[in-house]
């Protein structure tokens, strides 16, 4: 292994890793900013109700609050499994 390979194969510096992780988490935090506090609870309760009838994945329920001008719209999307349990 030549000396240049040694330099090339050096792992990424930790500060760069920190920055990349933070850019993602901060973007995510900012996306959640301004959404009402009840959204996470609403999601959990909705999931419970849906799972009484259909065995969906915990990640299958998406609740989004969207703003269009003056109007706020609560968007609910549930991904049903391919073969629902009978």
């Amino acid at each position: 292994m030549g000396i240049f390979d040694f330099f090339k194969s050096r792992p990424q510096k930790s500060a760069q890793t920190a920055k990349e992780r933070l850019l993602i988490i901060v973007a995510q935090q900012r996306g959640e900013r301004g959404t009402p506090d009840y959204i996470p609870r609403l999601k959990v309760e909705l999931l419970e109700v849906i799972r009484k009838y259909v065995n969906v994945d915990p990640g299958a329920v998406q609740v989004n609050l969207q703003k269009e001008g003056e109007q706020e719209m609560l968007e609910l999307s549930v991904v049903l499994p391919d073969r629902p349990d009978e």
Partner: protein, 270 residues
């Protein structure tokens, strides 16, 4: 006109109290009438950093409860006539700080002082909330470290929504980022995020960068805010930060690695 400035961070141990004390002294040295208020109820510490712990008779909660007048509770700084400290109470009662009480005391302080610095407790609970609620300006203290940066983003979100100004629509609070415990050496080796990394992540320019320095500990040991240690880099960096908060234009110092090469030592002008 008076101005209420909150010094906050979310995360603990990043230098809020050190910064509050130094910023308060910085304004006082510029001739402003300044009060600095400790909002960390139950964990009073600003008095120690200011070096007036033995002169605390009444505190913030005493004033709120009407046990004494504001004047009785304010501790005059020995170094600056125009600087006063309002100590936090050591009570364990979480509800000692009421919104009404805080509003009343701040209103009275606004009548007496030009600059009121609110030293926030860590976290985002009651004390921290009330420290920022009536602020006109905020200094968010952040370390170049993942948890501190994330928490300061949370706090920036709260400043934009959960303050009197935000709720009343009186225009937003001016936000300043103060980067502390910065080590140019570690940045140069890629082990610490740089000033521009933090600025890019948070989308905000820094008002000051305080280098990691032995003199910060020495200053708190002595009860003399580090800004008064004019020989220290940290002290000078705090002075720069206050100058910028007052609208002066000062270049950043102590953010680059000092070059120690022979040529540099022989020919380096500055």
């Amino acid at each position: 006109m008076s101005e209420v400035i909150v010094v906050t961070s979310g995360k603990g141990g990043v230098g809020k109290t050190t910064s509050s004390a130094s910023i308060a002294c910085g304004y006082a040295r510029r001739g402003k009438k300044v009060a600095v208020v400790d909002f960390d109820i139950g964990l009073r510490n600003l008095d120690l950093i200011m070096g007036c712990e033995r002169r605390v008779v009444y505190d913030f909660v005493n004033v709120i409860n009407g046990d004494c007048s504001l004047k009785q509770a304010l501790i005059k700084d020995k170094r600056f006539d125009n600087l006063s400290v309002l100590a936090a109470s050591q009570t364990r009662d979480k509800d000692a700080l009421t919104q009404d009480g805080v509003e009343r005391v701040l209103k009275e302080l606004r009548g007496e002082f030009e600059i009121i610095i609110c030293d926030s407790p860590a976290g985002i609970e009651r004390g921290a909330h009330l420290a920022m609620y009536y602020a006109d300006r905020a200094v968010v203290v952040v370390n170049p470290e993942v948890s501190s940066v994330r928490d300061s983003d949370r706090v920036l979100g709260l400043l934009a929504s959960k303050t009197n100004r935000a709720e009343k629509g009186d225009g937003s609070i001016a936000e300043h980022l103060l980067l502390t415990r910065y080590s140019p050496e570690r940045v140069s080796t890629g082990d610490m995020m740089s000033v521009s990394d933090v600025e890019e992540i948070l989308g905000l320019k820094v008002i000051g960068v305080i280098p990691e320095s032995q003199s910060v500990l020495a200053a708190s040991n002595a009860g003399v805010p580090v800004i008064l240690d004019e020989a220290s880099e940290a002290g000078q960096a705090y002075d720069d930060a206050v100058a910028r908060m007052c609208g002066d234009d000062r270049p950043m110092r102590f953010t680059e690695l000092k070059k120690k090469g022979l040529l540099n030592r022989l020919f380096g002008g500055s």
